[in-house]
Symmetry: C2
Subunit: 146 residues, 2 copies
């Protein structure tokens, strides 16, 4: 349960019951190689354009949503309007985001995970998901000057 995975391929697309099309392959590859790992649909659109792939924004949204349903991709709702996507490598984690430069770092803390379960139990809830995002200034010099 929740194993690792390093490389996504056309097989993953096929296994999701989707046709292996050029847009899907390119989008998956981009997520794979993406510097930051956390990108908006528009980021994907522009990065692909830079790479010479003119794929419609509507298709990007559609594909990302399909990938999400298939469990290949995770969607986050950080502050700032646009949804942010990242490849789902099977290991849950939460995020800490720099509100100055946008840098995103990941973390996983079992203690926090456990406490959430306990809190939910106390309140009679069954946990399906959770979103924890810390916002602050990263160590970057330029981000320090508040």
């Amino acid at each position: 349960m929740g194993g690792k995975k390093d490389m996504m391929s056309g097989d993953d697309i096929r296994n999701a019951g989707l046709k292996v099309t050029l847009p899907r392959v390119k989008i998956l590859a981009l997520l794979e190689q993406s510097e930051q790992g956390h990108v908006s649909a528009e980021d994907v659109y522009k990065l692909l354009l830079d790479a010479g792939e003119d794929i419609g924004l509507a298709t990007i949204y559609r594909v990302l949503t399909q990938f999400e349903s298939a469990g290949l991709v995770t969607r986050h709702h950080f502050e700032g309007g646009q949804s942010v996507f990242e490849l789902d490598r099977g290991e849950h984690h939460d995020h800490i985001v720099c509100i100055k430069c946008g840098r995103v770092e990941e973390f996983f803390d079992q203690m926090i995970e456990d406490r959430q379960q306990e809190i939910a139990k106390e309140k009679g809830f069954t946990v399906e998901a959770h979103a924890l995002t810390i916002y602050g200034y990263c160590k970057n010099a330029a981000c320090r000057a508040s």
Copy 2:
């Protein structure tokens, strides 16, 4: 730091550097008495209409945003499109939301708060804010049937 506050009034509006207008008074009163405590701008709009106050939706958004800047109100970005607002009574807390009926409960856990600080420190971040929301099914019978 972070004291309690039970009743908001025109003074709070004035102290925020805002004129005490009917829309502002009504919106603040509604948040004060609101059943659920967590309402969208449209909720506010409709509830006020029901109460016979026809205040423009644009004004509601403007006022809520101003209240937020003034620290009278907190805005949350739960899943589901609309922003959710609540009166800021000065005591930080996080939320657990039923994805079936929408019920929102609040909790505060010092252990989770502390761990976040530690994690941020490890990563060289200065924490400015955080958002933790647990999603699941509440104890309500109708919400149990997954």
